[in-house]
């Protein structure tokens, strides 16, 4: 028997039709479907320039079964806030039917952490009633895998190459979830499509929240991570089980850890499945691997401290291959 969550979602019409040109195994497609199918009301989607945008809508063809707007790279949040403002204005004057409509923006990490940060910050501060979903694949994948401020330490990208003198990206990634939280918005969460229950539950809460909600969702990318398409959601879960990408939410300032791995796996298990970290294993880069591990450990420690006694009573399965059944 399916999970009741999925039974409900299965009654939803398909938000994004087949025939798009996202790479085989791209998690962005999974994220979009899980997020939109979590809500029953009609949605309007705004898309930042990026993989998802170019792969799902090229005139005269679209994969979207919902109204959709793409404006530019840096402004998906502002654009959607315009749509939402228009909705309120038109409803106020009775010029459109009094029908509930939800608003969701999808931006990659480039359009969220980097070029779109100001626009997103403005929207969060102004308190528009919308959901912003960052599908974080950790680099500018649409232009051919260039580093972003979401690229993890040590990752090989075309603008942070691993060479004779370098070992991939030299800097730590930006903590975008914390930045969103610092805006004091009513709902912030970090999630992963590998745990569909977690993502769909958070997406529903985000849509139900009055005001801005921010979801930071890890989005494995076979192209940029140089990983097996088959492994995409395995990687999405391993990131969680290694505590590299903890799952938590902050609802009205209340922090909750939403997933506690039974066994915290070493981060190498996540790294070794990705070609972008291959150089770390080929030459003597144990230092860097240790550094990555200790960064993950420190962050996880902070998360646990923050969760305090409120760690979830359930715990995820130790083997990510056997989760949820």
């Amino acid at each position: 028997m399916p999970n009741p969550e999925l039974l409900l979602a299965s009654k939803h019409s398909e938000p994004m039709a087949s025939g798009h040109s996202l790479c085989a195994g791209c998690a962005a497609g999974v994220i979009v479907r899980q997020v939109i199918m979590s809500v029953e009301d009609p949605v309007v989607v705004a898309n930042a320039t990026g993989c998802l945008e170019v792969c799902t809508g090229v005139y005269p063809v679209t994969s979207w079964n919902v109204s959709w707007i793409h404006n530019a790279f840096a402004n998906v949040a502002a654009t959607l806030s315009g749509v939402e403002s228009a909705y309120r204005a038109l409803r106020k004057r009775g010029e459109i039917p009094a029908r509930e409509i939800k608003f969701v923006a999808f931006g990659g990490d480039g359009g969220t952490y980097d070029i779109g940060l100001q626009s997103l910050s403005g929207v969060m501060e102004r308190g528009h009633d919308l959901v912003y979903v960052c599908y974080d694949n950790g680099a500018y994948m649409n232009t051919g895998v260039q580093r972003s401020s979401a690229t993890p330490l040590g990752a090989n990208t075309s603008t942070s190459p691993a060479g004779n003198l370098t070992s991939g990206k030299a800097e730590l990634r930006k903590d975008m979830t914390a930045i969103a939280e610092a805006h004091g918005i009513p709902y912030v969460a970090q999630s992963s499509p590998g745990y569909y229950m977690d993502l769909m539950h958070k997406a529903r809460r985000a849509f139900q929240t009055k005001g801005p909600a921010f979801l930071n969702v890890l989005s494995p990318c076979p192209l940029g991570w140089a990983s097996e398409p088959t492994d995409s959601l395995v990687l999405a879960r391993l990131a969680v089980d290694t505590c590299m990408w903890p799952l938590f939410e902050i609802a009205k300032g209340q922090f909750s850890l939403t997933y506690l791995p039974l066994e915290k796996k070493p981060v190498v298990e996540w790294l070794k499945l990705q070609g972008r970290f291959r150089h770390l294993f080929q030459s003597d880069h144990q230092n860097l691997i240790d550094q990555i591990q200790s960064g993950v450990d420190q962050n996880w420690q902070k998360i646990l401290e923050r969760a305090g006694s409120a760690v979830p009573s359930f715990a995820g399965p130790a083997d990510s291959d056997r989760w949820g059944y």
């Binding site: 090229v58 793409h70 309120r88 204005a89 626009s119």
Partner: protein
């Protein structure tokens, strides 16, 4: 600031308006309209209050800040229902505008200079997506060096972004242009965003007696806005901003161009209807004493008033001088301009912007190019670049330009083709002089 004041009402009524007699159907609005003293910014804000668009995204910038402030205050006091979106940058202001317009809302905003420059990316998107909206631009020079005073640099830079572009001469005309801009841009034959330019400080901050029409009359004139392509009809999803492959891009550009070309007619229709309703008639151009003119100055914006003053002086001393004020830079009314200029002997195009490395400033370039087909009988055309960064244009400067035109008519080829008016120091010796223009390509 003589440029923006209304000159003698007995002679020419208000600047930018024809002197046609007041028609009968104006009587109603006559009774309820008020004559008030307003600055350009205030006039824009009042026009917006009366139109009451659905969404006003705004970001303050000198010299157009007052517009947003007044809209905010009208909303705060229940005089407007509009949603004010106080964004964190002009980039977001226009992004919000695009989103709101795609959702079927009537949208307006205001900006200047660097603000318009920061909107650049979405100027093209708003126009390419054929989303009507009205943007008041209080013209101000672009940095660097940072300046703050009026010129048309930012507007001229945006002239090919696909927006219709009004240039107003007076506060009254600014008010009237804002009202007409909604009708013109939203016309189904056009469907394009409209920029209404008013010179920074000279118009934005200078007060003038204007007729503020009755709220109801303005609302009736602009009509409710409806569009069939809205993001807010879940039963009929639409997509805005799809990628456009090579086999469609040109056709979409042509679709946009068709709106621009049809706008020429719509501007005249709406201007005429405005005249019937409110007694102030508008067209694409504002010719002043051009009927039998032999020399003329072509100009945009508020400084036209000063040139008109000089023309009156010259006419009094028997010189056949005229002024052709252009109200629209986009669409560029080339045929109408040519009709006015062809009978002349010499013309000075006065640009309040410059284009480094180009052959003269933008309006000059377009007018010269429009006249090219008539080169046998076309007048001499020179370019006088004035008022950059708020530099004052004096009546004496205008008189000098007219005497240069006389000298050109008399066959004096030493008159420079392009000159910065009021520049200290000698111009560069070889800077686009008249000889340079006459030299056939390929010879040195």
């Amino acid at each position: 600031m003589t440029a923006s004041r209304r000159r003698s009402k007995t002679k020419n009524e208000v600047r930018g308006m024809s002197t046609q007699s007041v028609p009968q159907d104006r009587a109603d609005s006559d009774r309820s309209r008020k004559e008030v003293v307003l600055s350009g910014n205030m006039a824009v804000a009042h026009a917006l209050r009366q139109v009451d668009p659905h969404v006003f995204p705004g970001y303050p910038i000198t010299p157009s800040t007052k517009i947003m402030e007044m809209v905010a205050s009208f909303i705060a006091n229940g005089e407007m229902q509009c949603e004010l979106v106080a964004v964190e940058s002009e980039h977001s202001a226009l992004s919000v505008a695009v989103g709101a317009a795609a959702a079927g809302a009537r949208v307006a905003s205001a900006t200047s200079s660097q603000g318009l420059a920061f909107m650049w990316e979405m100027l093209y998107i708003a126009a390419g997506s054929q989303l009507p909206m009205v943007l008041a631009v209080g013209n101000r020079a672009l940095s660097a060096p940072i300046n703050g005073f009026s010129d048309h640099g930012e507007a001229m830079g945006a002239r090919d972004s696909g927006w219709l572009q009004f240039h107003s001469e007076s506060v009254q005309e600014t008010y009237d242009n804002i009202v007409q801009a909604f009708r013109i841009g939203e016309d189904r034959r056009v469907r394009l965003p409209v920029m209404v330019c008013l010179d920074g400080f000279v118009l934005t901050h200078t007060s003038e007696n204007i007729f503020l029409e009755n709220d109801e009359a303005i609302r009736n004139f602009v009509r409710p806005y409806r569009t069939e392509y809205t993001l807010l009809n879940p039963d009929r999803p639409v997509s805005y901003g799809l990628g456009d492959p090579p086999e469609f891009y040109m056709e979409h550009k042509m679709r946009q161009q068709a709106g621009m070309e049809r706008a020429l007619q719509v501007i005249e229709e709406v201007g005429a209807e405005f005249g019937r309703c409110f007694g102030r008639h508008y067209g694409l151009l504002d010719p002043y004493r051009m009927e039998d003119a032999e020399v003329a100055i072509v100009i945009l914006g508020s400084e036209a008033g000063r040139v008109k003053n000089v023309v009156d002086e010259l006419r009094a001393s028997g010189k056949k001088a005229g002024v052709l004020r252009i109200r629209f830079v986009r669409p560029f009314p080339d045929e109408q301009i040519v009709k006015h200029l062809l009978p002349l002997r010499a013309v000075a195009v006065m640009d309040r912007s410059y284009a480094p490395g180009a052959v003269g400033a933008p309006v000059f370039q377009e007018i010269r190019s429009s006249l090219y087909e008539y080169r046998g009988g076309a007048p001499h055309v020179i370019n006088r670049i004035y008022g950059l960064g708020g530099r004052e244009l004096r009546a004496a400067d205008v008189r000098t330009i007219f005497s240069e035109l006389d000298s050109l008519r008399a066959g004096n080829e030493s008159v420079p083709a392009i000159r910065l008016v009021g520049l200290r120091g000698e111009p560069l010796p070889n800077w686009r002089d008249q000889q340079a223009f006459k030299m056939p390509v390929g010879q040195s």
